[in-house]
Amino acid sequence: MTSTADKATAEVVETVTLTIDGTEVTVPKGTLIIRAAEQVGINIPRFCDHPLLKPAGACRQCLVDVAAPDREGNVRPFPKPQASCTMTAMDGMIVNTQNTSDEAKKAQEGVMELLLINHPLDCPVCDKGGECPLQNQAMSHGHAESRFIDVKRVFEKPLALSSEILLDRERCVLCQRCTRFSKEIAGDAFIDLQNRGAMQQIGTFDEDVLDFDGYEPIGVAAEDESGKAFSSYYSGNTVQICPVGALTSAAYRFRSRPFDLVSSPGISEHDSSGAAIRTDHRRGKVLRRLSDNDPVVNEEWITDKDRFAFAWQNLSDRLERPLVRGEDGELHEASWPDAIARAAAGLRAAAGRTGTPADRKAKGVGVLPGGRVTLEDAYAYQKFARVALGTNDVDARTRGASDEEQAFLGSSVAGTGLGVTFGDLEKAPTVLLVGFEPEDEGGVVFLRLRKSVGRQSVLTVAPFLSRGAEKLSASLIQTAPGGEAGALAAVKAGTDTADALSEDGAVVILGERLATVPGALAEALRLAKRTGARLAWIPRRAGERGAAEAGALPGLLPGGRDAASEAARDAVAQAWSVGSLPEAAGRDAAGIIAAAAAGELSGLVVGGVTPSDLTADLRAALTATDFVVSLEVRRTEVSEHADVVLPVAPTFEKPGTFVNWEGRLRGFATAIRTEAISDHRALDFLGRELGVDLKVGTVADVNEQLAVLGAAPKGQRMKAPTVKAAKPAPATGDQLILASWHMLVDEGALQDGEPYLAGTGRTAVARLSAHTAERIGVKDGVVTITGAAKGAIELPVVVTEMADGVVWVPAKSPGSWVAQELGVEPGTLVTVKGGI
């Protein structure tokens, strides 16, 4: 029932013709009356009906008069008005809505009066007042006067469904949109209808509400270690679709009203899906974000992170003016021209471009844009590195990365345009997930896959079946981290998996974690060749794909060109009107950091990079380097170490483009106009001061150049990786293989300052198989994990059905900062000790 537009594109659709309010309309068979009416511009009031949810007929607000032909073909009216949101259109049907039928009008007014009996009518203090379907439809389709004079039913308010979602039950009209969303779309059936009659209400599985006294809910509440039956990553959507103000979010509750807000469309900066959002701000402060309707990408849903994590942009440590390190060794505020002059002078010296003998001592500059940059910013960083600093030492992949991954991105991702799309995922008969957790790392990708549960077979190569994968009814190909390449190689022709992947439209989704598994991406390419399945690379961060497209990788030039190919370099140099591009191979992020720490680099330009996300020791590198320029939104560890800090705009204060994992350009405009400037503009200033015109001052400038460059022609492309799979290290004694990935809601830097959202995240636990737990002798249910770095992680153990010899911990959840504390990537051996 999703959208009639989808169906219209299919070959030949069977249609039916009916008459609504005297207007004849032809619609595809199976269309609901309410949708058919929309097509001829007739609006039937409704509450429970939602185009993306299954029909429920819960509210009865959409009653219309219907007459349909019986078996003999005589058009006979139904004895009572019918719910137009549950009845499909039939040939020859005659529908009379409230516009033409007094009976339908009376029925609707009656329903409205009934709904309002127990409604508190507290619109003046309600968050929804002003954009409330109940308010609007009570005005357009209700009685002006209430005949109800008794005392209204009241509930204690609000009922906290989670730390973020609050429910005011007396406002609820029991349309069940929230419960249907949770069951049908998100798969987190955490709330449901309870009780009967006047006391019917929405609630959590709480014995007191249910009045079950002593009986536990039967539902799957066991998974959640927080002790609560509910932690959904998509719960914010229920607030948006609730047709009244019954569901509110703690973060926005009573903060403002719709008419206070200025809304601007935007793109979420949180993941690589590029979900369309709406940013609502007031008095220069973002108050809430909503999902926008983009049928090809996120439909009408976004994750809670997209929705609620925006406070980071305006925390008290937000940088407003440039900072320059003074004689006293402290950072002081400076004017833009001063800061740019200082930064340029430092970088010129570090890059050895002063034209003095001192140049001989200069060892060059490394550039780390970070993975959250827009396409334009990524382009500016790499052009700045290559033209102004004369180096290929630029890498946006501040996470586990490898040359194999770079070859994969260069050969099969960058410059390939729109590949597998959300729609393709939905239609795919088979989806193989490798190194990718759809719910935790994919955001709305999960919702698309979930849409096809039952119609699609999902296979996942993972150490255990996560809750997200379980909700997709996925079958597990149990693999210890590091063994993914082997698992892919094992999909030989003739096996069931290979057959499933050979089906038309099958997709293999590759996560960014595969970068650290030697041979995995090469194997995936071979698998795709063998079976004909299509590949989709879905990284986590919003800027990853854009960085690959823009060439912000050491070996990649814009458009997927190979920096090692002379033809490619010449083509780009010509487009940029420069003599030549640097030839020497660049270092990747880990290489740059290691070199800087060892004193082999004289300068660093660092964008949005969080040291605790990296296994490499960025702190040591920052201290060891002579000159550091930081382009940051907030004062961070990096900016504290920098010599010059240039404040840049957060996403809602600048225009730009994210390239989502599909390869789709997701452009967005400035939501709040401030004086803050984008990274690319700051780099343009720096370039000018260094004597080169990078022409990256505006989004239009960058896009013009990207358009001129286009995708790499065949000869200038990178070769596909051919790395052989390595045998993973065997787990012996207390040495276990580390498995880890980022939870959607965790302690990532972009989720700072949002305690209500953090409360919906999942408790950090260490997972071990029963056999492994026994082997290492877990005492007190706690394990201590140590790795290459000095830190240790101590977490409660949850025995899980999973691969032996593996320990799983969340990558950056409270008490579990893997990269910082252990200093290793997943797939490596760590020491796990039971007890303390």
Binding site: P124, V125, F254, S256
Partner: protein, 253 residues
């Protein structure tokens, strides 16, 4: 001849008549004509013998009419909690855009008003206010009422933006300064219904523990209870129906 010409013709005729205007007043007689130049003095003379209506303001201040729309007041409940819940409806109702409200959440440690929210920032700009009283009508909790105070002038623009502390009703006898918890066992509805009539032990104890020097605590109050030193309070209903309150100066440092 067109229609227009007809109209013009009528107009022209009327204009002609206007020039022939004659007064409806009767012609004065010969005596009246003689005294006409000094007739004005008669009015002056007559008023020598009538009671004076001049007010000796500012030497003597006369109370305004009971329903006069003067400076606003943010009221309190009998236990001292503020009535304002920070809903901003007054700001929305104001046709002059004179009110600015920023709300915040009440917490266990800082409960300023019953319920979830309170008005953290509350400003009324008296350079803009037209004293229409629409804000008073909009307020759902009767937090905002108007007093009879009309002396709203000042030498600076900033000074005429009254802040929350300038507008809050003074503490009456028996009230306890916010923040402090609500009366145990009550919910916000009980406050709205007027069921909370006084401060209870628990609230006093709470404040005593955290702010032993609070001047509104009974022990501190009796020590310096000097009624004349405290500005008198005007009860919210007095503002509409009761006798006029005293016209006090603005207490601002």
């Amino acid at each position: 001849m067109s229609e227009h010409d007809d109209v013009w013709k009528v107009n022209r005729e009327r204009d002609g008549e206007a020039q022939r205007f004659e007064s409806n007043f009767p012609e004065y007689g010969p005596i009246a004509k003689t005294f006409a130049p000094v007739a004005g003095f008669g009015v002056t003379l007559r008023n020598f013998f009538r009671p004076t209506v001049t007010e000796q303001y500012p030497d003597e201040k006369t109370p305004a009419m009971p329903r006069y729309h003067g400076r606003h007041q943010l009221n309190r409940y009998a236990d001292g909690l503020e009535k304002c819940i920070g809903c901003e409806l007054c700001a929305w109702a104001c046709p002059a855009d004179a009110i600015y409200v920023e709300a915040d959440s009440n917490t266990e440690d800082a409960q300023y008003s019953p319920g979830e929210r309170y008005g953290r920032v509350y400003q009324i700009n008296y350079l803009r206010c037209i004293f229409c009283g629409l804000c008073i009508e909009a307020c759902p909790t009767r937090a905002l009422t108007m007093t009879n105070e009309y002396e709203l002038a000042g030498p600076t623009r900033e000074g005429l933006i009254y802040e929350k502390q300038d507008l809050l009703a003074p503490m009456e006898d028996g009230m306890l300064a916010a923040p402090h918890p609500m009366v145990p066992g009550t919910v916000d509805d009980d406050y709205y219904k007027g069921d909370v009539t006084q401060v209870v032990q628990e609230q006093t104890a709470w404040v005593r523990e955290r702010r032993p020097d609070d001047p509104t605590l009974p022990e501190n109050r009796s020590a310096e209870d000097d009624a004349s030193s405290r500005p008198a309070q005007q009860s919210p209903d007095a503002a509409l129906s009761g006798p006029a309150g005293p016209v006090g100066g603005r207490t601002r440092g």
